[in-house]
Amino acid sequence: MTRHPGMTRTLIPPEPAVDRTGGDPGLRHRLAERGVDARLLLLVPALLFFVLLFLYPFLYGLGLSFQPAHGGRLESYRQFFADPYQRDTIWTTLKISLPAALLNVLAAVPIAYRMRGRFRGKRLLTILLVVPITLGTVLTAEGLLNYLGPTGWLNRILLKLHLADQPVQLIHNYGGVFFSLVVTGFPFAFLLVQSYLSGIDSTLDSAASTLGAGAWQRFRRVTLPLLAPGLATTFCLTFVLAFSVFPSAVLVGNPAGSTRVLSIAAYQAAYEQYDYSMASAIAMVMAVVELVVIGLVLLWRGTLYTGSSGGKG
């Protein structure tokens, strides 16, 4: 609402501005120019939520990790890194999550690229590609157990056709977890890549073709450079999902051996040994490793062109 002081003064007695605004209008105006106004109060619930449900538990866990039952403040960390059985879970986790995230992104790109534009059956195909995300890891793992297990359909078919003498070991190992992560992670990567792709102006592709660029060159020289920052973000998000893998590592993996990931180590520390300090320390190690990977990817992303990808400047 705009006020016309000159006009109102002649019609109604002037009222102090303080009454109307509840503050010095000059200050309010100056704050508004800096983007500060009362609507920011709407952020308070979200902020409370963040502080109470994330920040406080996180800091509590951080504190806990420095309060081991015995020894010095860093005893939990020392134990973790001194014991190869614990320490190696970092590599185990990275060995599963990095390739799974990479494969998800790499597989999503050609499929999303091919699915640009309009065509018959696009919606159905998208639904089919995205359905696994709605099922959750447990149901996926359940399905894998039934399908790929020693008495699962696949092995029964292989045996019937005499393509194998004995059931092929497809689950309860690294491959089982990896496959499960791809099944659940791919839809996520696909949806993200698809939305990044749709943000790239399609006339750029047309322009490149009139300049003599074939399909591969158009992708390589125009689409990919504009898509790359989005791919970095997609990789980070699918990596985070894969890194905290727990259900599938237990259900279709080999949780005592090849797929003993960080989250399993933390779980065992907390609920089998009741060593909350160790569990918290493992969680912190997990966070640091994740942040290092994401930091490296974002560092690379920073070297890319990240401006507008539309046709208009």
């Binding site: 322009a207 073709s209 300049l211 990808s309 539309g310």
Partner: protein, 376 residues
């Protein structure tokens, strides 16, 4: 790299070119021969099929029917990247992640030319559009006019057999649009380009093109030089588009030797019949604002001035005749709203068109699209 069409052609022939989208026909039966060195403008309101025609020429849209020939080579099945035609897009379509220089160099690099030659030709093209100082900027750092110049440089650096321009000036402001118009014509002449230019702005088309193709609802209405279209539109749709702002529905009373007597509402006018007009036919009378005079003369119509718009050398006037017909004219006379005037027109400049049975000039149809607002 194999270029499967001749680098230059003496003529490009579109034979019965058509394009359908689902059940709608965007373009039908376009026959057009473009000679080397010519500047052809495709003109029409939005949705008339002009951009479809251009995209068919570029190879970005496959044809539904017809064929395109470059001399004796059929090219409509050649993919765009092998046609060797340059294209300038309405939204410039510069690669946002590449500097202006690398945008211009893109096509040369696709041809795998030696680095030195790429560099030399890129620099020359950038100099041609006078953007040497801005060559290393990204498109987002350039103004709209500069971006469009880079887009033009990028298209012509390949010395294409044909340059296609899709409303290249419609995103620019009025002043810049005039400057770029001159620039495009200058480049066309000095480089000996063959240009096909799509626009909905008849002034732009008239001033740039050697030949105009007026399209409506996917069909060619008229092909001719700017002067032919300006003075002899073949139907009232073309007349509408060429600035015949007064289009009055009426009935022919008598037609003798091309001269038609017409009643429009309460007015009785004499004009030149265009096309088959017989006594008793429904007609549409078209006359330009410039061809309506004030004072004594033929076809006198008494009217009252309602609106006067100052235009510098003259004024644009809307006057209302006794029967309620609104008439638009331009005059150097100092008129004011409320003045009673007699409007006159030369019967030779008052064109009498047969009214299409299915289409009468409606409000939305009769106002020629203003360049700034017709497309956003």
């Amino acid at each position: 790299m194999a270029i499967s069409i001749p680098r230059q052609f003496s003529e490009l022939r579109l034979a019965g070119v058509g394009r359908r989208f689902g059940t709608t026909t965007a373009l039908s039966d376009l026959d057009l021969t473009i000679r080397s060195g010519e500047f052809v403008a495709l003109l029409g309101p939005s949705g008339c099929g002009k951009s479809t025609a251009l995209n068919c020429l570029a190879g970005l849209l496959p044809l539904s029917s017809g064929a395109i020939w470059a001399d004796a080579t059929r090219i409509d099945t050649v993919p765009p990247e092998r046609r060797g035609f340059g294209m300038v897009f309405q939204n410039y379509a510069l690669f946002p992640h590449l500097s202006a220089r690398r945008n211009v160099a893109f096509g040369l690099q696709m041809r795998r030319l030696p680095k030195a030659e790429v560099r030399r030709r890129t620099d020359a093209a950038i100099r041609l559009v006078q953007l040497d100082e801005h060559a290393d900027k990204l498109p987002a750092q350039l103004s709209g006019g500069q971006q469009q110049r880079i887009a033009i440089a990028r298209a012509i650096v390949l010395e294409p057999a044909l340059v296609l321009m899709d409303e290249p000036l419609s995103n620019l402001d009025a002043k810049l649009r005039l400057e770029m118009r001159t620039e495009i014509r200058r480049l066309h002449q000095s480089l000996g380009l063959t240009t096909v230019y799509v626009t909905h702005d008849q002034e732009e088309a008239l001033s740039l093109a050697d030949r105009l193709v007026v399209l409506r609802n996917g069909r060619v209405q008229q092909v001719g030089t700017p002067e032919e279209l300006h003075t002899q539109p073949v139907n009232w749709h073309v007349a509408d588009f060429m600035g015949y702002r007064n289009l009055l529905p009426g009935t022919a009373v008598s037609v003798t030797a091309g001269r038609a007597e017409v009643t429009c509402g309460g007015l009785r006018l004499a004009g030149a019949a265009v096309g088959p007009v017989g006594a008793g036919d429904d007609v549409i009378v078209g006359v330009r604002p410039d061809d309506l005079g004030v004072g004594a003369g033929p076809n006198p119509v008494a009217a009252v001035v309602e609106v006067v718009e100052y235009r510098g050398n003259d004024v644009a006037v809307e006057a209302r005749a006794g029967d309620g017909t609104a008439l638009h004219l331009r005059t150097a006379e100092r008129l004011a709203p409320g003045d009673e005037v007699t409007l006159t027109s030369d019967p030779a400049r008052l064109l009498v068109f047969p009214a299409d049975p299915d289409a009468a000039p409606s409000e939305s149809d009769s106002a020629p699209a203003a360049p700034a607002e017709a497309r956003s």
